[in-house]
Subunit: 158 residues, 3 copies
Amino acid sequence: MPLWKVYHPEGLYTAEDKKALAVRITNIYASIPLPKFYVVIIFEATPKGSCFVGGEPHDKFVRFKIDQIARTVPGPVREWWLKALDKAVAPFVKDRGCDWEISIDETPSDLWSLQGELAPPFESRAEKRWVEENKASPYTLDEKLPIKLALTPGLADR
Amino acid sequence: MPLWKVYHPEGLYTAEDKKALAVRITNIYASIPLPKFYVVIIFEATPKGSCFVGGEPHDKFVRFKIDQIARTVPGPVREWWLKALDKAVAPFVKDRGCDWEISIDETPSDLWSLQGELAPPFESRAEKRWVEENKASPYTLDEKLPIKLALTPGLADR
Amino acid sequence: MPLWKVYHPEGLYTAEDKKALAVRITNIYASIPLPKFYVVIIFEATPKGSCFVGGEPHDKFVRFKIDQIARTVPGPVREWWLKALDKAVAPFVKDRGCDWEISIDETPSDLWSLQGELAPPFESRAEKRWVEENKASPYTLDEKLPIKLALTPGLADR
């Protein structure tokens, strides 16, 4: 669901760094919960002299550009969410003396597919199965129903 | 109009593959119809170890990130449209044993220019000329009018 | 605030070109005014044969993809704004015989942080300080107030 593009100076991160950062980011989304494989992270090394901040070349700058697709962040938690992401990346930017910036776009969840399948509804049976299998696969009409199905919402105990 | 970014493992596609995939994608948009040159596709090779899915490096994963600008896909055809795109790319992902994901963003059509010209209105004379000439060029106020001009919409035959 | 991705043919721009283009772009935004360091520009060289326009490889094409975050361009100036940007880039595309295209997306300003700080409100004391210091830093609740504070808007002289 989220697509993270991490624009970083060439040579800043080792393979182990990338893996560790990817895991930190993935875990935040998995805790929502979301299927882990919804989280895609692409590291893109910017060669020296190809990144400018304020009109000046900046070779210690990391720019996180994020598309969130599956969920819209509700108003009251938007600031909290941003802070949570910032905390996840801090060891790889702040603690290394880099400048950094994060921006998130929210793109239409109905214009998104994985392995040719549209993502199943939030908290549906299909989503639950996708989480368990950790991969996208075809699902039935039945599986589009919510896990907790209440046909007549009301005050009664469930 | 659409800008396709194709993030693919380094070495996955030959020059011929890229050309063939670009043509398949372009033809779908041309059939709307849209001027062919509205379709821009940029292939970006991701070096080994720079793409993560679910926190794990994934070196057989292709991520299509699409900006659609000229048109908003109407509600009833959004799913169909996604399936049509998926079918176009299938020979280059599914049939090669790769995993893949597609997401589309819809960005403002009035914040878009080609060769310094704003795109002319949908089905205008200018758009028709652009299709024929297959390139962007200045157009007059007259050419902003629709090809089929009906000043007084009504029930009469046209 | 704006993130500019400049997809250009490999070898088209020298380091001096990049710097000059970055300064031209940055100055437009600084004149709004915006803190200069809000402007991030990443040049991305597309290798020969990896950029397609209308289904054909196009190796003299520059694609500007812009995210504007801090401000939404008001209706009446959207066309003017696009023309202003086009004028800024013209010496680096039109005057060099390249084709080019610009598109702008407007992404949520509340899902954006710099150095872990959310950008302060438009025309606030904190923004003024950020402009002066040309860098992001923590700010107080007081500094979120507008520079020109009028608690009771009315007809009286100020």
